[in-house]
């Protein structure tokens, strides 16, 4: 009896959590999308307006185009990095993998300024091009600019998930193929790529969804004719009453779910799991001299490309004045002194909030993916859909929803509203970053064979013991990937946080950057604070990778 009930218990706990912290607060805000503004009655007229408005139709097409192209370019960046570092014995694989995560951390506002100073119409790149060749390339203009930035910002989703998947492939499959005479590209195309598909799809669908729903990048480039910007601009104007902002939010959520469903169809009915033993990753081999040179050249080129915004951020944080010039006028450490002496608590708060949120995300992610893939609970897929839908909910909407829902709920003992307790920021981060961890965990579980669990249960292990001792350890790569992505992106979240901060002592780093970036003198300190976030996250993910690698070595020695 227990065996039947437990999954339902877990599923309903998860459903309750999502209901209280996602569905209800968001519903509280976006119900106006379904309301007739003149009578207050339920209606779909606002959706009719949406499809009748040419601006919105254009925005929809633009968003779709940007999302699709971003997946393409992000794949072009991520695939070589993932393949070379997992396939070959490669000096500095861990460093490359770590640096590959850094682009995810684009601090609000300062990131934008750094990008403009580098790639903008009068940024360093164009000033040099103008000096040398007399040309100006509009890197940062219009939809192509958005695609460029989205690709170098979000390709780590593919890199991380694909690497985790490649590391999880059962070596025996590859050996079998090689014994049968397959090698080179054919081996990659027919065996490796298909087996790593869940990881790639997890990453690619995140890039697609994120580029489709992303607000920061189009705002930074002042591209207004995209859905997320249209929603935001309409929601955030003073004294708003226009329901279209919320209508667009609903459409963003629905379309995100639809594309998620399509990506699930793609992996349906296929078995990606390894054989009867714990998977052990691709065979690693050494490269020949010229191969190595080529691979290094490609990797160095890609890393320079994707890290250029952060190099610019570094210059900005040490620079005095940087205006219409290739490099700052002079360099100083004053900005760091100011940041460290005045805003230390922002940094500790951020580590605390993002750390708790990412840990929760991973636990919830494991639980949901397990319920979805391993149990027969009715309606289990909806847990996945709803949790992933959070990706498309604008941060402002979630923030307002929390204020509206939890302001009258006084937390016992603390004696103040939940909406103004710092824990609400953690919950907001958890919800907003849950999709990342969830996709990573789902992909990881896809690769774990059922047979191992069955074997454990046949040997008398209970469900809990099986999950704890067999499933979770085998998912470790994916779990760490999920933790890292959730953590990294949570450290720089702003839109919901800005709504929910009620005391400066509770504020995270992103709020600190916002405060600095409100005045001309604050640009340097803002950049310094942003760079601190980048370094902290890079260190964190380096440790996480180090941990996986060490584990793998331990595993090899114990089995071999």
């Amino acid at each position: 009896m227990v065996r039947v009930r437990t999954p339902y218990l877990i599923a309903s706990t998860l459903a309750f959590f999502l209901l209280v912290f996602l569905v209800i607060p968001v519903g509280e805000v976006i119900y106006v999308a379904f309301q007739d503004s003149s009578t207050g009655a339920l209606t779909l007229i606002n959706f009719v307006d949406f499809f009748k408005t040419s601006l919105f139709r254009e925005s929809f097409v633009n968003s779709f185009y940007v999302a699709g192209m971003s997946v393409l370019f992000a794949s072009l960046i991520a695939m070589p990095l993932a393949y070379f570092t997992t396939r070959f014995n490669f000096g500095g694989s861990i460093i490359i993998q770590t640096l590959g995560i850094v682009p995810l951390i684009m601090p609000p506002f300062v990131g934008a300024v750094a990008m403009q100073l580098l790639f903008g119409s009068n940024g360093s790149a164009n000033l040099l091009l103008d000096q040398w060749f007399g040309i100006n390339i509009p890197f940062m203009e219009g939809l192509n600019g958005v695609i460029l930035v989205e690709s170098i910002h979000y390709f780590p989703f593919i890199l991380i998930n694909l690497s985790a998947a490649l590391n999880n492939i059962d070596r025996s499959m590859e050996e079998a193929a090689q014994n049968l005479g397959s090698s080179g590209m054919r081996l990659f195309r027919r065996i490796v790529l298909p087996l790593a598909m869940p990881g790639y799809l997890a990453g690619a669908s995140l890039v697609f969804l994120k580029a489709f729903d992303d607000l920061g990048t189009p705002l930074l480039l002042n591209v207004n004719n995209m859905l997320a910007t249209q929603a935001y601009l309409r929601i955030s104007s003073i004294g708003i009453s226009d329901p279209m902002g919320y209508v667009i939010s609903v459409i963003l959520v629905l379309f995100s779910l639809f594309s998620l469903w399509v990506s699930m169809l793609a992996s349906k009915g296929k078995d990606y799991s390894g054989g009867g033993k714990g998977s052990s990753g691709l065979l690693k081999r050494d490269m020949r001299g010229w191969e190595k040179a080529g691979a290094y050249a490609l990797i160095v080129f890609l890393l320079i490309l994707v890290l250029s915004p952060h190099i610019s951020l570094l210059l900005l944080s040490f620079g005095t004045i940087w205006s219409y010039s290739v490099l700052p006028d002079a360099f100083t450490t004053a900005h760091y002194v100011e940041v460290i002496s005045t805003t230390r608590e922002y940094i500790t708060n951020t580590l605390l909030y993002a750390g708790i949120a990412a840990s929760f995300d991973v636990f919830i992610g494991i639980a949901i993916s397990y319920v979805v893939l391993r149990t027969q609970v009715i309606g289990r897929r909806w847990l996945d859909y709803i949790a992933t839908g959070a990706l498309a909910v604008p941060g402002v909407v979630l923030g307002i929803g929390y204020l509206r829902t939890f302001n009258d709920f006084n937390v016992p003992v603390i004696g103040k509203p939940l909406a103004s307790w710092w824990v609400i920021i953690v919950i907001a981060l958890t919800i907003r970053r849950l999709p990342y961890a969830l996709r990573a965990c789902t992909a990881a579980l896809h690769q774990v064979s059922n047979t191992l669990e069955e074997a454990a249960e046949n040997l008398g292990a209970g469900k809990t013991a099986t999950v704890r001792k067999i499933v979770v350890p085998l998912m470790a790569g994916g779990i760490v990937a999920g933790f890292v992505t959730s953590f990294a992106t949570a450290t720089v979240e702003l839109s919901a946080t800005l709504m929910l901060v009620t005391a400066e002592s509770d504020a995270p780093l992103a709020y600190g950057i916002y405060v600095f970036m409100q005045s001309a003198a604050g640009r340097g300190p803002g950049a310094a604070l942003g760079l601190i976030a980048v370094v902290v996250v890079a260190l964190g993910s380096y440790l996480a990778h180090h941990f996986i690698e060490r584990n793998k070595r331990l595993q090899v020695t114990s089995t071999g």
């Binding site: 226009d242 004045i321 010039s325 204020l403 302001n407 003198a521 604050g522």
Partner: protein, 451 residues
């Protein structure tokens, strides 16, 4: 087996460190003697005032809660049922108007004396007594000297300068729907030049835009970086950028308005006494003097403070050119507030590319026209200009209460009724504007081909 343990060690250590941090991070709030200020002002201003105020009232701890104006309004609206904020402190008068209409502000009678009724032609205080002006700011033009020098562009001095072809693609501004102060600039131009001419001027300026920034600080930010050369900004953005060392300059055009910066007590403020003390401090001699700090740089509302100001500091109480040319009609502005925002977005923000292309085509044709005599081409150019300037509604309609209500749609009670939907109206406008810009571009190109 080792591997499994390690996985758990990782999470165990994370949870442990989380727990440790948690116990440290729990804030210990004093329940008395504090003051919570929701503000959109930058750190330089808030920190300086906080320190000075806490020095004068050692018992009161001030919490400055920084939120964008829009987020601040939302925050106060959403937390009203369990309010913990004492003061709302921001520039945009319309944000205060929104809060006032929702009954979320508290009346306060200022004890300080010696503060005039108007600054420029703008009334300093809310006539209903809810919010108080403590400083003024004027609108103007800032530019990046390196940028203009490199591109060989002259420095602008008047709004009309910005319509010239030489500035095409080099200027920037925020949108009135996102920045209350930008809204005032647009409304000032509309009132100063008249509805039709004002919009015509606005669109001629906008046709040269490099960008419409999402937030008002985006403009000084872009000019400081050299992303674009010229920006339409509030004075302290320009002057404080200069004070921070950026190669920028700022000028007041002859038609400008002074915008008051305001403060109000939030309804059911938990600390009304401290809040009152803060307002009095702002208006006191000591408080007003802080405004002269080069990093803050606001125009005091106390005339006598200007005696202490540096030489080039503008004094609106003496120099009547600042903000005196336009008699600003607050009620007019208020009645069509959202409508003007929406019109700007439809005609400029969302169709900037089309507007820019049309403007460029007209400017090219005019350049080709110089020194030539071609009546047909001249006629085409005039038509193209008229198409760009054409408006979907006239001023009478903009002041029509029933029509303006389409953009307000604030149903106070369930029984309230409003007609029309904003999305519907905007779609009609958009269709008209888009086809006009396209036609204007075609006409101007035709004119060029004749020359």
């Amino acid at each position: 087996m080792r591997q499994h343990k390690n996985t758990f060690y990782l999470f165990a250590s994370i949870s442990l460190s989380v727990g440790l941090l948690l116990s440290q991070a729990l804030p210990a709030h004093a329940l008395e003697d504090q003051l919570t200020v929701v503000t959109s002002y930058p750190k330089d201003l808030t920190t300086t005032f906080k320190k000075a105020f806490e020095k004068q009232y050692p018992g009161i701890k001030v919490e400055m809660l920084k939120k964008k104006t829009t987020a601040g309004v939302k925050y106060i609206q959403e937390t009203a049922s369990n309010n913990s904020s004492d003061l709302f402190w921001a520039s945009a008068p319309d944000a205060f108007e929104v809060l006032k209409e929702d009954g979320l502000l508290q009346k306060y009678t200022v004890k300080a004396t010696g503060i005039p009724e108007v600054i420029g032609s703008y009334p300093i205080n809310d006539p209903d007594g809810y919010y108080k002006g403590f400083a003024g700011s004027g609108y103007g033009i800032m530019w990046n000297t390196r940028y203009l020098k490199a591109k060989k562009i002259p420095a602008p001095h008047e709004w009309s300068d910005l319509t010239k072809a030489v500035y095409h693609g080099h200027t920037g501004m925020s949108a009135p729907s996102r920045s209350g102060t930008t809204h005032l600039t647009v409304e000032t131009i509309l009132q100063g030049e008249g509805w039709d001419n004002g919009w015509k001027l606005m669109k001629e300026i906008a046709g040269n835009f490099h960008t419409v920034t999402e937030r008002s600080f985006g403009v000084p930010d872009g000019v400081n970086s050299g992303q674009f050369g010229v920006g339409i900004v509030i004075d302290f953005f320009g002057l404080s950028s200069q004070a921070s060392g950026f190669p920028v300059e700022f000028v007041y055009p002859s038609v400008t308005t002074l915008v008051p910066a305001n403060i109000a007590i939030v309804n059911k403020a938990p600390h009304p006494e401290a809040a009152g003390a803060f307002i009095e401090f702002l208006l006191s001699d000591a408080g007003q003097r802080i405004l002269l700090d080069p990093k803050i740089r606001r125009l005091p509302v106390r005339p006598e403070i200007y005696a202490l100001a540096p030489k080039d500091f503008p004094n609106p109480f003496v120099d009547k050119s600042i903000g005196a040319k336009v008699k600003f009609d607050v009620l007019k502005s208020k009645s069509r507030y959202n409508l003007v925002n929406s019109m700007f977005d439809v005609m400029v923000t969302y169709r900037l590319d089309d507007l820019r292309k049309a403007t460029k085509a007209v400017q090219d044709a005019e350049k080709a026209m110089v020194g030539k005599d071609n009546a047909e081409a001249a006629q085409l150019i005039t038509e193209a200009r008229a198409l760009i300037a054409a408006l979907p509604i006239d001023e009478a309609k903009s002041l029509d209460k029933e029509f303006a209500a389409t953009f307000k749609k604030k149903r106070k009670k369930a029984t309230d009724k409003v007609t029309g939907r904003q999305a519907e109206v905007e779609q009609q406008w958009d269709a008209m504007v888009k086809s006009n810009y396209a036609k204007a571009k075609a006409l101007a190109e035709k004119a060029s081909s004749l020359l």
